[in-house]
Amino acid sequence: MNTRSTRIILPLLLLILGSPVFAGDLFIKGGTILTVTDGVIENGSILIRDGKISALGTAIEAPDGVEVINAEGKFIMPGIIDSHSHLALNGDVNEATAPVTSQVDMADAIDAHDHQIYQALAGGVTAAKLMHGSANVIGGLNTTVKLKYMTSLEEMRIPGVRQQLKMALGENPKRVYGSKGKQPSTRPGIFATLRQSFLDARAYRKKWDDYEKKISEGEEADPPKRDLKLENIAKTLTGEYGIDCHNYVHNEIVVFLDIIEEFEVPYAVISHSFGAYKVRDRVAEAGVGVQTHTDWWGYKAEAYDAIPYAIKMMMDDGILVDICSDSENVIRRLNREAAKMLKYNDLSEEDALKLITINPAKILEIDDRTGSLETEKDADIAIFDKHPLDSFSKCEMTLIEGKVYFDITTADKMALN
């Protein structure tokens, strides 16, 4: 064994040996439990069985022989969820060779051994949607994963979760293709590409429907030629895939919502959406979730009108909204982004925490299994030394499905030297 692999494997062994192996039973004893959906439980405990929360509250006791994590004086919250990340893709973020590349699946880029996954775990993050970039009008399929560092894509993937096809409006596709003298170089160009793609996908779907109908009626028929690009877009029309659309300004948001309603898209969410507060009545009516940021602004023209009040304005109008990172750096401190909401707005601590837990879980459609501390949910948990909205708090332990993936007491050993 060479020195380099010893350096990698030894700390990992230490980590595994020092923590419960393979989703064994675990008892987190005596902390302040921030359930996020059902208030705060002081001096509560959590029993984890088979990777799930089997019981929580003040009245539960540790069963004999179960491993106990002492969390007295600590704050226990659901694992943080990032609905917009390009983590662990080794730079394979944009297949920027054509305005429509819906045949691409980001799962094919995911590196479970990327050290930045560990850095995100150290910030209490347990799940993320790993996404295609915004160069193309229609990019590739996003994949939602649990951050099971050093396992595999198969382990990280959440079974049964609908993938979302990335779309992008505005400056980025305009710049990428406009600079090459290609469509789209304008917003109307983008929407023409988008409408044409939906029309082509609808026609493609119809060919297959006709074929399947004939076969089911016992008729002979040749199957149409399979086209991955159109197939994936067509699946957004049937709801097999969702859509995640990158956008900024209010007018393009309205046009996009009109188009997905025209094509009866069953599930779509929108990203960044800094202008959404200006048309929040329309956004609320469409019922799309919004994945955005607290106080980013001004880095480009379409971000100039972003305001740190937008999230609260949208919440007040009943829009499902979350705070996401879009950054390997911000993903490590999403709790601080949530705390910033309290600076600019009057809202409860629980509502602030929802923005990085249950709300992204809903947007990613994984809220039946994660995003809050409730019995029967996956034991995806972050333990902080102080309240996670306290700016001097530190994540000390992160568990996914009852297994410890980050422990501050062994963290130093995770560096290669």
Binding site: A122, W297, A339, K343, Y344, L389, F392, A415, L416, N417
Partner: protein, 410 residues
């Protein structure tokens, strides 16, 4: 003509004295963290004109004085962003709105940041809404040798109203290589800077009495060589830190270091140099071979070694986020008071403006921030802000947009 001048002077004197009387302001009832290690509970700050007249408890409040009730609030000096491009960049990606980074030459020592600062930039109001009253604006960092910085207060209709000191530092960037063009390597950058400084040295030594013949670049560099200017140096890898310190010693420069990600590899050399440090990159992702909290611990480690610190955003739009790096540094070992100092008095010292700025003391300029709670808590709200004694508006472009769209019925 002369008469007009005299009347203007007389008029100004009258206006001035009138405004002085009107500008007596008292901030009462707050917990005043002075920045000199003292906290005055339930204290009062008496402002006269631009300056703090008195500070303490049981102060007599002059009649007719405007009073700001700060009961239960925390009062800090205005915070200082030690290096930014506030006022030089309106929209990051839109070139015509940017006046930072004159990329046309490898030596832009002849430029001054103040020539580009837009007092009406929306960034000014947004930045001060996080309690930042003062910043040192750099012209840029795109070249190996960059222009003069300008230290400004974030209030004023004209740049001259904002200026505290103009042309106090130049900026070197030891990582400003450009592929295919000299200098394209680290040794190339060092050679370029050395040769440029040597050329200036030669000109000064040959004609000591006729500096007027020096061009603008030489004039600036001559001041740096005489120790009249600070030389702020951007480093990236650990070689850069060594190179910066070597340059500093070789040319006897008043160096201020921005260490970058190589900071821990050259810690002993930084300590030995005695150069102050501007902290940036607290949130940068450490590389694979570094601990996850490597950069979170940078400020704490530098402080522990006795190095004077300030924090720098080095940006425009995210300058308001700069204090978050201080909070993170405090979480990972920087003593709270050292964090507070780095945002106030220590920053003022490094910038050379501590005679007037950086702490709440009688006689100093009244740059004062009033907070709902601990200013290092990201969640705390800024309740009032005074710049040069003026209770400035907290309605930036962003609050105006919020109010415009508060109701969608119109």
């Amino acid at each position: 003509m002369k008469q007009i001048k005299i009347s203007v002077i007389i008029l100004s004197v009258i206006l001035c004295s009138a405004s002085l009387i009107a500008q007596h302001t008292a901030i009462t009832g707050g917990n005043i963290v002075t920045g000199t290690g003292e906290t005055i509970k339930n204290g009062t700050i008496l402002i006269k004109g631009e300056r703090i007249e008195k500070i303490g408890t049981d102060l007599a409040i002059p009649e007719g004085c405007e009073t700001v009730d700060a009961s239960g609030k925390t009062i800090w000096p205005g915070r200082i962003d030690a290096l930014s491009i506030v006022g030089l960049s309106e929209i990051g990606a839109v070139a015509v709105t940017n006046d930072a980074n004159e990329k046309t030459s490898t030596n832009t020592a002849h430029l001054r940041a103040s020539d580009g600062i837009n007092p009406e930039s929306a960034v000014v109001g947004v930045t001060r809404n996080n309690g930042i009253t003062t910043t040192q604006v750099m012209q840029g960092r795109a070249a190996p040798i960059n222009g003069l910085t300008s230290i400004i207060n974030l209030d004023g209709r004209r740049v001259d109203d904002m200026l505290i000191a103009d042309g106090t530092s130049i900026v070197l960037n030891l990582n400003a290589m450009e592929r295919g063009k000299y200098p394209s390597t680290r040794p190339g950058i060092m050679a370029f800077i050395r040769q440029t400084l040597i050329d200036t040295q030669n000109k000064i030594s040959k004609k000591p009495e006729s500096e007027a013949e020096l061009n603008l670049k030489d004039q600036t560099l001559a001041r740096a060589l005489k120790g009249e200017l600070s030389v702020i140096t951007f480093c990236d890898r650990n070689q850069d830190i060594r190179n910066a310190i070597t340059l500093g010693r070789e040319f006897n420069l008043k160096m201020i270091l921005i260490p970058g990600r190589g900071w821990s590899r050259q810690l002993e050399m930084i300590i030995e140099s005695g150069y102050p440090v501007l902290v940036t990159g607290t949130f940068d992702n450490p590389s694979e071979n570094q601990a996850y909290d490597y950069n979170y611990r940078m400020a704490a480690r530098l402080h522990e070694a006795g190095i004077p610190l300030a924090f720098a955003s080095c940006t425009a739009h995210n300058a308001r986020q700069m204090p978050e790096a201080v909070s993170m540094s405090v979480t990972y070992g920087l003593p709270y008071d050292a964090g507070m100092q780095a945002l106030t008095l220590s920053a003022a010292r490094i910038l050379g403006i501590d005679k007037d700025y950086g702490s709440l003391e009688s006689g100093k300029i009244a740059n004062i921030s009033v907070w709902s709670g601990d200013p290092l808590q990201i969640s705390s709200k800024l309740e009032a802000l005074f710049i040069k004694g003026k209770n400035v508006s907290l309605q930036s472009r962003q609050e105006l947009l919020r109010d415009k769209y508060k109701s969608l019925d119109d």
